[in-house]
Symmetry: C2
Subunit: 214 residues, 2 copies
Amino acid sequence: MVDIVVMRAISSDNEAHAKEVRKALDRNKVAGLNLISSPGSGKTTLLVKTIQDNPGLKFGVIEGDVYTSRDAERIEKTGAPSVQLNTEGSCHLTASMIETVLPKLDLTKLDYLMVENIGNLICPSAFSLGVHKRVVLLSTAEGSDKVLKYPQAFNTADVVLITKMDIADVVDFDVKIVEDDLKAVNPKIEPWRVSAVTGEGLDRWYDWLKGLHA
Amino acid sequence: MVDIVVMRAISSDNEAHAKEVRKALDRNKVAGLNLISSPGSGKTTLLVKTIQDNPGLKFGVIEGDVYTSRDAERIEKTGAPSVQLNTEGSCHLTASMIETVLPKLDLTKLDYLMVENIGNLICPSAFSLGVHKRVVLLSTAEGSDKVLKYPQAFNTADVVLITKMDIADVVDFDVKIVEDDLKAVNPKIEPWRVSAVTGEGLDRWYDWLKGLHA
């Protein structure tokens, strides 16, 4: 049974709630990640694959969705503890929402808290969730022009993953454009190419995750 | 040179502005359409193809984007008049924005006003723009589960186009799921399958457009 919590966005004092979330994570030595992307970029698929490929790492997941618990049901099959957070119309998660559902996960038993944000490249970028790192996914199917069109997602990212590399040729994706645009928007990082289907690039992603606990 | 207008969302009295937009369109016998989808679903590609394939129809385009004028530049190459509307952070267009930029297009010379909304399946659904029809695009690459996850986009649609049908097999897309979910959310319509690459399904879309002026 997936645990579903329905919440609406309250924007007041997001930073105060973010600090409380951070304190709870740090107290329990849990690394928190905020996963942001368009609908259908492969956030849940990457999470499922990451959990399955790393049985030695203990993941907990907060699944954000406007409606439905389909994603949390997919996570549940991996055996990782998960909470479905439904916003019923709201276009992003807030730190207050995370703070509210956090007690549903036993942080003492986790290494990582993975928060899958609402499928939206715009609004989620404006709200800190109190976690440590922000990971932005861009699928090759979305096209090569998205970094400059949605700069606020990419310039606040700690990691950018280009997903669905296995279909890059079919959808005529030009990784060079993304690399160049990212240099303009967020020169500290370069995009990592991954595919949950072929496994391309996943080792680097897993190494980075493990490094958060090094 | 692409004409760029920067605007921020003001939510007050959206319906009053929508009425003014509708009056201007009706006075000039222009059919107005609001195109909504995730980033990278193919709104601009469909618009370019539609304009190119129908030289007898007079299209004007309002291109909504958070930043950049890339889409309006693509439209401009077709010869159709276009205005780029940049929201600089806002996640959707409003009727007030449309009303403000409308004088930049000579409505007496148009049959259709195509408004490409911000790439976002959530927020744009909540704002009427005063146009006549709402068209929602879902690309096969986004996955088959999106209708129930973003019902507010699909239950307010007059037409749902499943785009990128040419890669449906590669991305393991199941059209039956979308058809079934749409029956639950918006039983008046069924999704139309299209591909701007192969031309699949475009005749039906063009016939429907022409029917708006029948």
